[in-house]
Amino acid sequence: MNVPIDLRYAKTHEWIRSDGDSVTVGITDHAQAELTDIVYVEPPKIGAEVKAETTAAVVESVKAASDIYSPISGVVTEVNEALTSNPALLNTDPFSQGWIFKIRPSNPAEIEALLSPEAYIAQIS
């Protein structure tokens, strides 16, 4: 399983990439493999306030719908429009083209509390 070392992880299998005051959120390679063929993504609304560890998006495989939690609190600033026509990007490129949404964090301290790559690898192995 691919676990990039420059990201932080949530126990619920989301990753974040911090870029100044913008944080990108997606799901891990492990998560996409567990979910299997992703056929639909329902991103949050731009401007929505999301709380850490609460549902921010939904991804659906052929078999089931799964909640995606926001690893941190903040305001949604952008969603990945490419997923509307090509939800399979979550399967093929979960850490890059398959990102789901970006938020402006309201409590940057929450980022520090997330799992390191090593801790996440330990969780999934």
Binding site: V39, E60, K63
Partner: protein, 369 residues
């Protein structure tokens, strides 16, 4: 994934795990839901050939001088239409016309019938059948559910595969049944040209101990393992009902649009359990019908138990739903008031609090070119 202790195990479990299956609980059985992926497996069956473990399904033989008359009294289709070596889809109802199970019955000899019943209903079906057996000893009922391993070989290349592996096999015609070989032992090996995918294909029944060898032989011949995940999307694209989702004791086959498998108007069909209730229902007019729906715009895939709305009011809920891998569209079935079950009727489906436009369509969802 936790596995409860009373799950039943298919004789092919080791073969599934060797093929990289993801195993889940289904109808009390520990079964493969997918191997390489539901969409890929679905496409393999539509375009080439795939195989499903159907060992969880029940097999029952009914034999004896009284077999025909007894089966006529128990099943909705006319059993006497069956020539030796032929099969038919039929239903077993309770007195209220509610569906106990839908099944395939084959006549494999003058006075012998072979029934394939749903996994989740095996015990209940047998209980029902035993309770209705005549006491004069003219009907012998045998539960062979644990004696068979069964594999459904499905897809346009099925016949080619079957002929290459079993050149001695007499290939049956659609809905027919033949002996794969005259193997010694208690259980004959049967080949039925039936399935649950809408594609040409065969259902192969062999003694439990030979299941793995059959599976591995097919695998070697290039047949793609296919799990219950795509079995569900394939059958739904054809509009084939699934007992437990689309069929229930609270629904009759008339409401499920399966009237052509119910010989109400056939003068040669004797009385059967549920007939009176169905006649009453038909005379009174059906209030609801199992209705195929399609999302009209892009939206989330429909799933079971989503609310269906007409003019803003709830009129029913979906009983089966999926994203159709062949069509790339959301498809579903729902029991709806008869006046709304007309093709083209605009509806809405509620998914997580949002409403998406849908409309009534016609079956099958997937029409072959």
């Amino acid at each position: 994934m936790s596995e409860s202790t009373d799950l039943k195990h298919t004789p092919l479990e080791a073969a599934h795990i060797a093929c990289g299956a993801r195993m889940v609980e289904f109808g009390g059985w520990f079964m493969p839901v997918q191997y390489s992926g539901i969409i890929e497996e679905h496409r393999a069956v539509r375009s080439a050939v795939g195989m499903f473990d159907i060992s969880h399904m029940g097999e029952v033989t009914v034999a004896g001088a009284g077999a025909l008359a007894w089966l006529e009294s128990l099943l909705t289709n006319r059993v006497s239409k069956l020539a030796v070596g032929r099969g038919q889809y039929t239903l077993m109802l309770d007195e209220k016309g509610g569906v106990i199970d839908d099944l395939i019955i084959y006549r494999n000899d003058e006075e012998e019938y072979f029934l394939v019943i749903n996994a989740a209903c095996r015990e209940l079906d047998l209980e029902w059948m035993r309770a209705h057996l005549p006491e004069d000893g003219t009907v012998a009922l045998k539960d062979l559910g644990d004696d068979y391993a069964a594999i459904a070989l499905q897809g346009p290349d099925s016949e080619k595969i079957l002929r290459s592996l079993y050149p001695e096999c007499e290939v049956p015609k659609r809905n027919g049944l033949s002996l794969l070989s005259t193997a010694e032992g208690v259980v004959p090996e049967l080949v039925a040209r039936t399935g649950y995918t809408g594609e040409d294909g065969f259902e192969l029944f062999v003694p439990t101990s030979e299941g793995e060898a059959l599976w591995n032989g097919l695998l070697k011949a290039g047949v793609k393992p296919a799990g219950l995940g795509c079995r569900d999307t394939l059958r739904l694209e054809m509009g084939y009902p699934l007992n437990g989702s689309d069929l229930a004791r609270t629904r009759t086959p008339l409401e499920a649009n399966l009237g052509k498998f119910v010989a109400l108007d056939d003068p040669q069909k004797p009385d059967f359990i549920g007939r009176q209730a169905l006649e009453l229902q038909r005379n009174a007019g059906l209030s609801e019908l199992l209705t195929p729906l399609k999302l009209t715009l892009q939206g989330p895939p429909m799933r079971a138990h989503y609310a269906v709305l007409s003019d803003g009011s709830a009129v029913g809920e979906t009983c089966s739903g999926a994203l159709s891998p062949s069509l790339g569209e959301g498809i579903a079935m729902a029991y709806l008031p008869q006046q709304l079950s007309v093709a083209g009727t605009p509806l809405e489906i509620e998914v997580r609090g949002r409403r998406y436009p849908a409309s009534v369509t016609t079956l099958p969802f997937y029409k072959k070119l």
